[in-house]
Amino acid sequence: MNLSFFDQFMSPSLLGIPLILISLLFPTLLFPSPDNRWITNRISTLQLWFFQLITKQLMTPLNKKGHKWALILLSLMVLLLTINLLGLLPYTFTPTTQLSMNLALAFPLWLATLLTGLRNQPSIALGHLLPEGTPTPLIPALILIETTSLLIRPLALGVRLTANLTAGHLLIQLISTASTVLLPIMPAVSLLTTIILLLLTILEVAVAMIQAYVFVLLLSLYLQENI
């Protein structure tokens, strides 16, 4: 009984063909490329407005060299946002619940920021390992701590996304199971549980959007330090 709750996170396959590829490519259908008109259709207008909003928000703190990262950060943000939100539809599969995928997204991008910093401005990048104004006896310990926190960043990025989404989906499944099971026994409690489920779903929508944003924001922050 308990193990069946984790079935929703199994990578789906049909006759051995992994379907995760389709779940990953489906968001591309939802964002049509705008054609060269002044006034485009409503989806393209909304899309353009939204992308400009995010890009401005993400790219303002970065210097000119960092603006080269605009495309990849924007597309990453939109991909994560769409995948997370699509995962809230019934019966769909959310690829971001797979730790392998989130680590595969987080690790190379973080490593790219780190190597950019170490290559272009090595002393500044290494200087981030020691915050200003630390008392002298604490310096060795603090450098070790800062190095650990630096090296753990990709793991934290990946696991944060995975854990948040997996926990949300599991909670939804558990509470809805409880609500359904309680319906013949105690309808009043079942009603309360359903209200909790509604609130939880609203929370999950918010979490889906926030987590995507946090992922990309942290990457841009790591980039700011290093570029």
Binding site: N41, R42, I43, L86, L89, T92
Partner: protein, 79 residues
């Protein structure tokens, strides 16, 4: 022979039932052909429901509903 040439250009709705196997055999099943078919289908849907002056929620909702149904079919054995 002239009938076979014209058969290649007829649309599916105009093909007679007896001509169906030969019509199917004439279709382009190369990877480029299949990609072209997907592109044509996408363009048809896009231009009919989304690329209109006052497109509403229905255009996107139909795609999402189709995605939900497809996911249901794929995960049926797990339920």
């Amino acid at each position: 022979l002239p009938a076979a040439v014209f058969l290649k250009d007829t649309k599916l709705m105009d093909v007679k039932l007896g001509q169906l196997p030969s019509w199917l055999a004439m279709r382009d099943f190369t990877p480029g052909g299949i990609a072209g078919a997907f592109r044509r289908g996408y363009d048809r849907y896009y231009n009919k429901y989304i690329n209109v002056k006052k497109g509403g929620l229905g255009g996107v909702s139909m795609v999402l509903a189709g995605y939900v149904v497809l996911s249901y079919i794929w995960s049926y054995s797990h339920i």
